[in-house]
């Protein structure tokens, strides 16, 4: 949890989006993205931009990898990412993403993600995602070794 929050602190774009880690366990991580006026995609409706939701989900996926790999640390660049927007989140409401790395191979990680409106985490998701990431191992100095 601490590691996730500290690593999130260093990611400027995610900090700017106002992302926050709510929980982090080996199985998965929960991340929150607030609704903010400057993240709106459609000025006529006030709905959050799909891109902001995407950025949160991609970040959550990366942290799901970190959780699965903990206590080791690797960087995991995204190979591909698909997001389905099931319905528009209510303007004014934050969204919560749960991301879980469900398969880890020596080179690739497979991640599933679900996003809900805050307070609706038992209900219908607003978005689902599926992603793969590549594993890059680091040496003691934090340099990429493979």
């Amino acid at each position: 949890m601490d590691v996730c929050n500290r690593s999130l602190e260093t990611v400027r774009h995610s900090r700017n989006l106002g992302m926050e880690v709510l929980s982090a366990e080996e199985d998965g991580v929960r991340v929150r993205l607030p609704w903010r006026e400057d993240l709106v995609g459609n000025p006529d409706t006030g709905v959050l931009h799909g891109g902001a939701i995407f950025a949160m989900m991609d970040q959550a996926g990366g942290m799901a990898n970190s959780c699965r790999l903990y206590p080791n640390f690797e960087i995991t660049p995204t190979i591909d990412f698909r997001v389905d927007h099931l319905h528009a989140p209510t303007p004014g409401k934050a969204v919560i993403c749960y991301a879980s790395c469900y398969r880890l191979t020596p080179n690739v990680t497979f991640v599933r993600l679900t996003t809900w409106e805050e307070g609706e985490e038992e209900g219908e998701p607003v978005a689902t995602g599926l992603a793969t990431y590549t594993r890059m191992k680091l040496d003691k100095n934090g340099r990429v070794v493979s």
């Binding site: 260093t10 990611v11 400027r12 774009h13 995610s14 700017n16 989006l17 006026e37 400057d38 993240l39 709106v40 995609g41 459609n42 000025p43 006529d44 409706t45 959050l48 931009h49 799909g50 891109g51 902001a52 995407f54 950025a55 949160m56 989900m57 991609d58 970040q59 960087i75 660049p77 995204t78 190979i79 591909d80 990412f81 698909r82 997001v83 389905d84 927007h85 528009a88 934090g142």
Partner: protein, 150 residues
């Protein structure tokens, strides 16, 4: 509001308004700092190098989410300009392949509509930094254009 959007698009076409105004009415597009290069009727979208879009501070590299958001917004504006009755398209799905690291420099994107139906559009988006022929990411997305049930 839809009427004002239509009027703005008309004004852009007639040279009475700047295409950039279409970008700037979207708060998230301003958040990323998206710009537009118009050559005739060809559009190139630009995500200028901006520290706020950094994802990996050590490389430094752009945040994959910022690049994806930039490409999604580029597609939305591109479709808007192709629609007879412009209405902001809703993203149904967005799929992106990361081919190269997004370095901390300007990023460009172009869109191609694969199919523009009455209800759904399929768009291909390509983003590059050094050369158009060497994309850093390619994406494919579907957008809902109309919610009429016919």
């Amino acid at each position: 509001m839809t009427d004002s959007l239509k009027a703005l698009i008309e004004a852009c076409r007639n040279g009475e308004a700047n295409y950039q105004d279409l970008v700037d009415r979207v708060p998230y597009a301003r958040f990323l700092g998206i710009e537009l290069l118009v050559q005739g009727e060809e559009l190139t979208f630009i995500l200028p190098r901006n520290e706020n879009n950094i994802g990996n501070p050590t490389l430094p590299a752009l945040h994959g989410g910022a690049v994806a958001g930039f490409m999604e917004q580029a597609a939305i504006i591109f479709i808007l300009l192709e629609m007879g009755e412009p209405k902001v398209p809703k993203t149904i799905d967005f799929t992106i392949d990361y081919l190269r690291a997004g370095l901390f420099r300007d990023t460009f994107a172009e869109c191609r509509i694969t199919r523009l139906g009455r209800r759904i559009a399929n768009v291909h988006i390509s983003a590059w930094q050094k050369r158009r022929e060497e994309p850093i990411t390619i994406a494919r997305a579907h957008f809902l254009l109309s919610e009429e049930n016919n």
